[in-house]
Amino acid sequence: MKYVDEYRDAALARVIAEKIARAARAERQYKLMEFCGGHTHAISRYGITDLLPANVNMIHGPGCPVCVLPIGRIDSAIELATQHPVTLCTYADTLRVPGSNHLSLMKAKARGADVRMVYSVADALRLAQENPSRDTVFFAIGFETTTPSTALAIRAAEGLQLANFSVFCNHVLTPPAMAEILGSPHAREFDTVPIDGIVGPGHVSCVIGSRPYEFVSEKYRRPVVIAGFEPLDVMQSVLMLVNQLNEGRHEVENEYARAVTRGGNAKAQELIADVFELRRSFEWRGLGEIPYSAHKLKPKYERFDAEARYGIAYRQAPDNKACECGAILRGTKKPRECKVFGTVCTPENPLGSCMVSSEGACAAHYAYGRFREIAENTR
């Protein structure tokens, strides 16, 4: 496949692997967090860990949209679908995220709620157009990558004067979460930030550019390398991070130059700015409340805001006590250090959200990597 195979070349991978092995100093550890679930998936799927020296460790970050959705938001979506006469549309993985009372949108669907899986917000918009007598709500989730398309749909709905379409907005922002992980009081108190550098988001950065990470690297003195999602992208960015750390630098570098610029996609940013504004605070699963870390619809688009339209009040709901998703999303624990990993919590019956999406740290490790520690244990 053209433009893809070039970035999956095994011979080139060996060349970069040798460079990393030569660059990594034996006397120190390199703990690198790949922020994005897309990178987590690539690392697991291509077996990249096998190509890295033992002292270069990848820590899975929180950049998986369904993983950071708090239970309260899932509960609100279930409430919307079961207690209002609406068709609720959302992306596939969201259907399986566990909410309170052992419910999920998929289980609500089996109990009669009208929940549909869509590939794009455009499908939800079309559904609303085709069924004018029924309300369609799009349960919008995701980082800056999916926010512009939601904004486009809202603008289109306005243009079409659609009265039966609204959005339950849960779009979140990457840089505040990154700052939270590197600088939260929790992290400082326990000195548990084991992160030396960050493999930065690829798709998100196509939209927002590389500039928003500059304050992260300056304030927390950690290098950030923005990377594409192909395995060679990840390898190259690891090499760039190791080199920065060896040279005592902490800069934002861009490995994904074929798609990401410093300024990002101005059109997409304008769209976001037109339709959305920042929430004062938003709860992230496992990370708690993070100020100015999510979007909501601007008052001028309020009639498309499902929260206002259906009077949805946010109620916090506690995570399962045994679930370590919080520590895993922060990089302070590995999936296998969670007591319920692979026992009570499996991809078929996820307890925590990290086990839901294939981009989630636990699900990726379960599906692709868990044979490793069994091999280690029996050795």
């Binding site: 999956r8 991978a13 294939s358 990597g369 044979f371």
Partner: protein
């Protein structure tokens, strides 16, 4: 005075007619539909007897029976339709025991309002597939459900066959050291269906691989009577089949990603949709496990058959108490090829 033609019945309107409740009510309308459509299309000595069952002589050897329900959406897709799929899928399940399939039975659940023209198209396709495979549909049943309680048409087919003496093929016979062979490219069927779904149309030249595999199996069994395992990787794809073998046989597998045949168009579509070809359904491919010394001979026999031209050896059976399917990635690492979680594609067979 009207001229009443004695014995005249107005033929079923296959151009504009639709299924209605009377087509399943046991009266004249049902009898007429059965006669003009099903008996006419499947025509054979058993159906012509118009009994509620079919009697046939039992050949010597071990009998095999299997049943399969088909609920595919859309009903018509590039390379096939629910009709030929219902014939191929069930014949293949019998063939995977190393058996020669003999007869088919078919049950139809029709939704009120379903166009008779489409039903006719499906039944003719089914009859063509059965004839081509040499496996007649010798008995059947039709029911009609109210509008909204079905999805056009559901078809259940049952097949019987006979296993030649000396053949013992079963999912629990994989042994460490055995070789794994696939009969051709993976993922064609699932991607063909996906490319045609109403809310996800993308232009592609990929066609479903739906085909009856008993001819290929006969050639394989002739070359290597001692094949250990055979299965057609339908729902859940190659990954699911190998995980099933691993659990049944109490072994593990080690695959080589670079050896697994996948069409570039299928890889590209999977890339776009976030799918893994190893988990995508096939309807005309099989996976074989055989002793290492038989692998070359089996591969040669497969490649000599039109449905096995692209056959490839993709890995081996290993000892593993955890029954993991591992894969050496083309990139140079190792990963697990786990059971599928949730659903990869809805309603594909």
């Amino acid at each position: 005075m009207s001229a009443v033609k004695e014995g005249y019945v107005r033929p079923v309107d296959f151009n504009n007619g639709r299924v209605d409740m009377s087509h399943g009510a046991g009266g004249r309308a049902m009898a007429q539909l059965i006669e003009e459509l099903f008996v006419h299309a499947f025509d054979n000595e058993w159906l012509r007897q118009m009994n509620d069952q079919a009697c046939f002589a039992v050949p010597a050897g071990r009998m095999v029976i299997t049943t399969d329900s088909h609920v595919v959406s859309p009903l018509f897709f590039p390379g096939g339709d629910i009709g030929c799929l219902a014939v191929h899928g069930t014949i293949n399940d019998v063939a995977m025991a190393g058996a020669r399939p003999l007869y088919l039975a078919a049950g139809f659940i029709l939704e009120e309002g379903f166009p008779l023209a489409e039903l006719q198209r499906i039944v003719l396709s089914m009859a063509g597939a059965a004839r081509e495979a040499g496996v007649p549909v010798i008995t059947g049943d039709t029911k009609v459900v109210e509008r909204g309680k079905g999805d056009g048409v559901f078809i259940t087919t049952t097949a019987v066959g006979v296993v030649p003496p000396g053949i013992d093929i079963s999912g629990d016979r994989a042994r460490p050291g055995d070789r794994v062979i696939v009969s051709g490219t993976l993922g064609d069927h699932g991607v063909a269906i996906m490319s045609f779904r109403e809310n996800l149309s993308f232009g592609t030249t990929i066609r479903s691989d739906t085909a009856a595999l008993h001819g290929l199996v006969a050639a394989m069994v002739q070359a290597v009577p001692g094949i250990h395992c055979l299965r057609d990787p339908t729902r859940g794809g190659l990954a699911t089949t190998l995980n099933e073998f691993a659990r049944q046989s109490g072994v593990g597998f080690r695959l080589k990603e670079s050896a697994i045949p996948v069409r570039p168009q299928v890889s590209a579509a999977c890339e776009l949709l976030g799918l893994d070809p190893l988990y995508v359904a096939n309807e005309g491919k099989l996976v074989a496990v055989c002793a290492p010394q038989d692998a070359e001979r089996l591969l040669a026999a497969m490649r000599a058959h039109p449905l096995g031209r692209e056959a490839a050896e993709i890995g081996e059976v290993i000892e593993d108490a955890h029954h993991f399917v591992q894969m050496q990635t083309a990139f140079g690492g190792t990963r697990l090829v786990d059971w599928l979680t949730g659903e990869q594609l809805p309603r594909i067979c």
